[in-house]
Amino acid sequence: MSNEPIIRTSDLHKKFVRDEFEVHALTGANLEVHRGEFIALMGPSGSGKSTLLHLIAAMDRPTAGAIEVLGQDIASLSESAVARWRNHHIGFVFQNFNLIPVLTAHENVELPLKLTHLKKGERHQHALTALKLVGLSDRTDHYPRQLSGGQEQRVAIARAIVTDPDLLLCDEPTGNLDARSAQEVLTLLARLNKEHGKTIVMVTHDPHAAHFASKIRHLDKGELLPEGEVPEDWRAAPMASDDKT
């Protein structure tokens, strides 16, 4: 495990302009993530968690500041270079799974591989391996609507890891799941981190989920708090509401 951080943001700003409103979603985030870490990003709604994750995945561009992921200054890449870069290096897991409904589990997982040079047989094999890893080798031919939420999310995770990316980014991966499915998904992520050495950044509201991470960072009103700090009003409010999920 090298000590060189694989994510490094310095003084990252993101400002959204909608009509006459300006929203400062991120105000100077400095984040370093090292290879093999499992980071949980926490914070109240609207604090800029997703925004930070999107910037790391190069799904959006910062308004100011520098961002380097895997030694690459992603802000300097062209649109199509970014797409290719993301295909190789990033696995993204959404809160609402976002599987393609007309494709089977196996086809969904295979989809990112279609952008690689792998042969048909290799793609097939890789997809099977990924599905096996998430414990769904018996569901390969099922369509998303034939799967439970937890299973759908595991397929989505298989899709995210099938290209063997360096970085797994998850935006509230358990947000739409019941407690048991959430537990399964979190166990899976922890295993991917421990056994397969995947670096994971996970956004979550849920302190229980954050517990699976090796490190927790808090965001508050667009500000990434220094390690170990939590927002002042944090302990009182969110715990109660998070028990519902």
Binding site: M59, E79, A83, F92, E107, L111, K120
Partner: protein
């Protein structure tokens, strides 16, 4: 093309909509195909070698007016003319033809002695030909008519006159094939003359002359010479190639070319609108998916390709079905239009096939270009935010 399965699955994802779109495309393209096939057969098909040598002379004013019979010998004397035969459209009623269209077929009275010298492409066994020529009450039938009317050699055919106040009682003596699509019944023209004589009027005029030229080069010369010769007589003539003559029948319906072309254009435009509407709808529903694909690493160009591909898949499937339907419909139409269009020409010929293919492709691309382009360009986060 490793994305083909995805494209196909996507384009057929909404079963009912795909079915409706494909059906409407198929039906429109079928209509288009038939019209284009008809247009092609009418205006572009090459005349058969013999047909290119034949000219038809008729009264300048109207096909229903007659010319003196002695014109025949004058035409015969024009340089380049090999033979002339006169014939007469008889019309008439077969069985209860006025009520049942299926009993209709063309009937011609002809100078039997000469007809085979002018129409050299009759394929008929020699004994049947002789039997026909030697019997004034005989007739011959094209194979298709014989089959459709269930007539065979030796059968009697009664035709009630309508244009002429004469009834025909004929015996089938031969069945012929002809490569230029001539369909009908031919009988001795003397039947008309004798019938009229019995009624007290005599006939020494002709409705039409068919001229056989010696060579294709002679055709335009003959055309001018004949019409000039009779220009100032009591019955001025109009001479044209057999093909053009066939078309002049359709001209009764108006400017066929323009009608066919404008229907084709209207149909194409309509399909385009239908397809564009469907594609716009199906793309709009899936902007979010575009965001997902982009997250997985699909580039704008790939996504554009996928969306265009889906629309192409739909329009090509529709086009293929339409083409098959059109081919079937042409078969049916070819029978009905046998007198005007050589049946073997009224099919989806290669140029028509290519044109239809091109139109299908065009519709596929044109209908989806704008929505696909817009969707492909949607920024990834905007696309993901779209809720369905």
């Amino acid at each position: 093309m490793r994305f083909l399965p995805l494209i196909l699955k996507n384009s057929l994802r909404n079963r009912r909509r795909s079915f409706l779109t494909i059906s409407s495309l198929a039906i429109s393209l079928c209509l288009l195909g038939v019209l284009m096939a008809l247009y092609y057969a009418l205006f572009f098909s090459e005349p058969k070698a013999d047909q290119a040598l034949r000219l038809i002379t008729r009264h300048r004013v109207s096909i229903t007016m007659v010319m003196p019979l002695h014109y025949r010998d004058k035409i015969r004397a024009v340089p380049g003319v090999r033979e002339v035969v006169t014939w007469q459209w008889f019309g008439g009623m077969y069985k209860n033809e006025q009520r049942e269209q299926k009993y209709f077929f063309p009937r011609f009275g002809v100078e039997a002695a000469r007809m085979f010298d002018v129409y050299r492409n009759f394929e008929i066994p020699e004994d049947q030909k002789q039997a026909f020529m030697s019997d004034r009450r005989a007739c011959i039938l094209s194979r298709r008519v014989a089959e459709a009317q269930e007539l065979k050699i030796g059968d009697r055919v009664y035709i009630k006159g309508n244009i002429f106040p004469i009834d025909l009682d004929l015996t089938v003596k031969g069945i012929y094939d002809m490569d230029d699509g001539n369909e009908g019944l031919w009988f001795h023209m003397e039947q008309i003359e004798e019938g009229l004589k019995r009624l007290g009027s005599s006939r020494s005029f002709a409705g039409t002359f068919t001229i056989l030229a010696e060579s294709p080069e002679a055709v335009p010369r003959i055309q001018n010479a004949v019409d000039e010769m009779f220009a100032n007589s009591e019955a001025p003539t109009r001479t044209e190639t057999e093909q053009a003559f066939g078309l002049s029948f359709l001209a009764f319906l108006g400017n066929i070319k323009l009608i066919l072309m404008s229907i084709c254009a209207a149909v194409t435009f309509t399909i385009l609108l239908v397809a564009a509407n469907t594609v716009a709808m199906s793309v709009r529903e899936r902007v979010r998916e575009v965001g997902v694909l982009k997250t997985l690493g699909f580039t704008q160009q790939k996504i554009l390709g996928l969306l265009l591909g889906e629309s192409l898949a739909i329009s090509l499937i529709g086009g293929a079905i339409g083409l098959l339907l059109a081919q079937g419909l042409c078969r049916v139409l070819a029978v009905g239009l046998a007198g005007f269009v050589p049946p073997d020409q009224l099919t989806i010929q290669l140029p028509v096939f290519l044109a239809l293919l091109g139109i299908s492709l065009l519709i596929g691309v044109a209908s989806s270009a704008v929505p696909a382009w817009n969707a492909a360009r949607t920024p990834i986060l905007d696309a993901l935010r779209v809720t369905d």
